[in-house]
Amino acid sequence: MTVATRVRRAARIARVARVAARAGLRERLANKGDFALAIVNGVTYQITVLLFATVVFTRFPALAGWTVGQVLLVSSVRLLAHSLFVLGFTNLREIPYLIRQGRFDSFLVRPAPVFLQVCTSRFPLNAVGDLAVAATSLGVCLSMLRWDWTIARVCFLVLAVVSGAVLELALALCAAGIVLRRPGSEALFSWLDTVIGTFGNYPLNVFPAVLRAAFTFVVPVAFVAFYPVAKVLGKAQSVPYGPALTLVAPVVAVAWLGVGGWAWRVGLRSYRRRGW
């Protein structure tokens, strides 16, 4: 394939995505109740998260030598990454429903990538709520940290958020691949959500060795926020498995994306072959 055709193809796909996303958004806005609830959800979720944080920090002061503001930065980066992921790709979780409705099968025969059609099948209104939470929590924690802003720091944080989102996408793709190959395993999606949501918020140091290893080498939860944030906070020396890990989050994200892409393709192929 020449560069020109690749570019043209990418442009066409982008156009399809834009049109589909806009149609999805219009559809969601047509329902007043849904729209209102998306905002209510943001607020409720916000209360839950902030309350959880308050409880943890007031009751358990010693979090491996991390201050409240510092731990909050871990959660904020994770939340931002999560809301980016939700904005673009949360519909992967809807695949079992799409299959049930027969919509997924119609995606297979249309001339656009199935992944794109799944992601644009519905506009993720709740991303609005998630973004609101993330922004608030980031604001609170930055006011607590009183930082000197340097370009390097900002760039590093942005990179951390992006690679966190990519990691979440990669893991969701793995789950989607498994779901396509072995229907009935859709509980993996919510499992991923809870594991990242619950365990990605803390400094890895607080966990026993088994979990540290698991969250670094098996399910890369710690790379979503903890490792890069430790670097930004100047705590690189204290992380498990050496300071080098604080720099490699983007590499880990890309590697996992490769795995996720492979899992997705394998899953899709076996779904097609079985044909249902």
Partner: protein, 265 residues
């Protein structure tokens, strides 16, 4: 001709068992959840000797069981019988064309669902006990009382779930409502944070709402946060919620029937 409606309770467990993958996934999720949460709370409590009158072991027991109870309930996927999925695939009409009313059908299905998820809770509890992560109940009486309380809690949670599910008759998608309910429930039931950690006003709110009766009460009884002497008022409170919610749910179904008439199935 007598209907044998109680046999409808078979549906949910049977459907789950038809798929090996589903059983395997559920087992995986339950097992990892027990291990991960026990470790998390152990780590958090590591430097705190006693929390609100509970020792570390009791506190970890509470938190782990709370996580377990919540996970086991959310195992149903896209194929569970709910108003939401039936409206999505357009077959809700059949619920109203059978000699068992939609309400009774959903209730018996819910019984099966509750039994199935309870089996997983028991399994997860056994795993936790075996690995020494969860403390055994203090006495046989505590075990019995918390089992009863757990049963009442299931009824409360069933009613709440059905109320949310019925909302699908009015809203195009219940995702918003469901998500909202999940937050509120996980927060106010004490599944996420033990209720006694709440600031006073929120503790009051949580105590006045039915969510705590679903999760917090049985686990508090088990872990010893509610003493055996105080069990009777706790159980009475749960029973009261069961009754009140059952009535609201019945009302909800009546309205839903009328709503269906407008939509035409």
């Amino acid at each position: 001709m007598t209907t044998r409606v109680h046999r409808l309770a078979r549906i949910a467990p049977l459907a789950e068992c038809m798929r090996g993958t589903r059983l395997a996934t559920t087992g995986f999720v339950v097992a990892t959840q027990v291990l991960l949460y026990a470790e998390l709370w152990r780590a958090l409590y590591a430097h705190t000797a006693s929390v609100a009158g509970l020792d570390v072991r009791q506190a970890v027991t509470y938190s782990t069981l709370a996580a377990l109870a919540t996970t086991a309930r959310t195992m149903r996927g896209a194929t569970g019988e709910s108003v939401k999925t039936r409206i999505l695939d357009g077959s809700i009409a059949y619920w109203f064309l059978r000699p068992v009313s939609a309400r009774r059908y959903r209730a018996w299905y819910g019984v099966g669902e509750a039994l199935y998820s309870s089996a997983w809770v028991v399994g997860g509890l056994a795993l936790g006990l075996g690995l020494g992560l969860v403390a055994p109940p203090a006495s046989a009486a505590v075990a019995a009382v918390s089992a009863v309380s757990f049963g009442l809690g299931l009824v409360v949670l069933y009613c709440l779930t059905v109320l949310i599910d019925i909302a699908a008759f009015w809203t195009v998608s219940t995702d918003g409502v469901t998500r909202c309910y999940e937050f509120v429930q996980s927060l106010l039931s004490g599944a996420l944070i033990p209720l006694w950690f709440f600031p006073g006003w929120l503790g009051g709110v949580a105590a006045g709402l039915p969510f705590a009766a679903g999760v917090s009460t049985p686990i508090s009884l088990y872990a010893g946060r509610i003493r055996l002497a105080d069990a009777v008022p706790a159980l009475a409170g749960q029973a009261g919620w069961c009754l009140a919610l059952a009535m609201v749910t019945a009302l909800g179904w009546r309205r839903a029937g009328r709503r269906l008439v407008v939509l035409g199935g």
